[in-house]
Symmetry: C2
Subunit: 295 residues, 2 copies
Amino acid sequence: MTWEGALVAKAEMINEALNHYLPSESVYPPLIHEAMRYSLFAGGKRLRGALTLATAEALGLKQERVLAAACALEMIHTYSLIHDDLPAMDDDDFRRGKPTCHRVYGEAIAILAGDALLTLAFGVLCRLRESGFSPGVILQVIEEVATAAGTKGLIGGQVVDLESEGCEVSPDTVEYIHLHKTAALFRAAVRCGALLAGADQQKLGLLTDYAVALGMAFQITDDILDLIGDEKVLGKPVKSDLAKEKATYPSVFGLEQAREMAAFYVDKALQALETLGPEFEFLRGAACYLLQRRS
Amino acid sequence: MTWEGALVAKAEMINEALNHYLPSESVYPPLIHEAMRYSLFAGGKRLRGALTLATAEALGLKQERVLAAACALEMIHTYSLIHDDLPAMDDDDFRRGKPTCHRVYGEAIAILAGDALLTLAFGVLCRLRESGFSPGVILQVIEEVATAAGTKGLIGGQVVDLESEGCEVSPDTVEYIHLHKTAALFRAAVRCGALLAGADQQKLGLLTDYAVALGMAFQITDDILDLIGDEKVLGKPVKSDLAKEKATYPSVFGLEQAREMAAFYVDKALQALETLGPEFEFLRGAACYLLQRRS
């Protein structure tokens, strides 16, 4: 199977589980569940959730057992996109080729749909218990996710991202933004899989290094695609970072150096896995995929 | 000590613990921590957190041990107020006599401060471990809180509240709103204290009945105060529900019947505690306080 084929197979598992964990659209009050589902099933690649499944699998677990963790990470990712797209934040009208949540349901419901996905993520993590994990390791996972999603992670990155719009930013600042806004959730995705599988400290360390480097490479290629990508393939307008004067790797370092830095982080991610066996092939493939991604 | 005195003592404990759990304003990025603290320390009574402490205490625990749970509930309460006050929702400029979060920090930071408080609440619940609780019971508490804060609780209530503005609503709908928007968090506050204290099923059932009735009485008196209260004592403009054509008990049933219903729920709350001992005095006091509250 190609790497893309493996990703699609994992995404299908995750989508099925998300459908199971999300209240159906007929559950009262229907509008909020419709809005949550609209954004959650808008066609994401499920890269973060797939990393959780693949890490756990490489460490000897059945992927099915960690589906709740993969789903929680995808819910948090989607919540962050819904809130980032709001008029008060990035004011984006399209995402993955579809109108953004607030364009369809209005701002109030979009805010609440984000809130609800974030809340549900923690509820779903508790359900890891149904897969036979000990409460102790589940608590570790919940703490991991709460830290990654909080002001020391995702939210901290988004705050600095907003503050940096239209400003000259230093390399350190753009690194802070990417580390927190993007890499923190990749890190949590991989670490949750590793923690649930009972990885030893050495492996946990290597996998953490891998995930952070992968997250950085992902965001840099994202920034590059925003600049030179194909609007139709991306499903959202290109050059939006430029219009908003966002702090990105290409804007701070120039396109050529940003490309080199993406390649540097891909290398770094692969190096972290060097001493690990062939069972980590999906993780390696994820790093290589970033160098050729077009959406 | 009077009941109000006991509430203040509990609130002081909670405030100290909140100060401990919240990153200081100097932690990068400072703006988000400042905004979180601004709203969290805007002078709330800490009624929900106090109910957690009092329930655990009545069941034989030292209050200090459940402070993390009390703090998590107060963080979730504050997050819900910040988001409810946003222009896209209730568009309120004042809360507890101070400008609302978005009036001070702007909409983007207010949305993120709410997100961050919700996220931190779950992180803080994990820290109940430091007080020696078993991971199993902590997971039960996290699940309880996630359910109360989600679309089957708080968020569901807020959605129907927004949908009902300017509409003729049925008694069932206004009951749904109050049960979910308000009573759900009171219920979680009491149940978290009870679960951590290892209450048996019978006591848990009685305390749940108490908390739901208390939450209903609290929200009905809140609606009444909005109509006839003193703006200076309340710290926010009165008659705002009327202006927004909100579904409230007075608007659906009239003021007189709303007063009777508040008294009915207070009675119901007290009845639920009838077979319990004098150690539940604070909980009884909370119900009586609602009949005479002015803010």
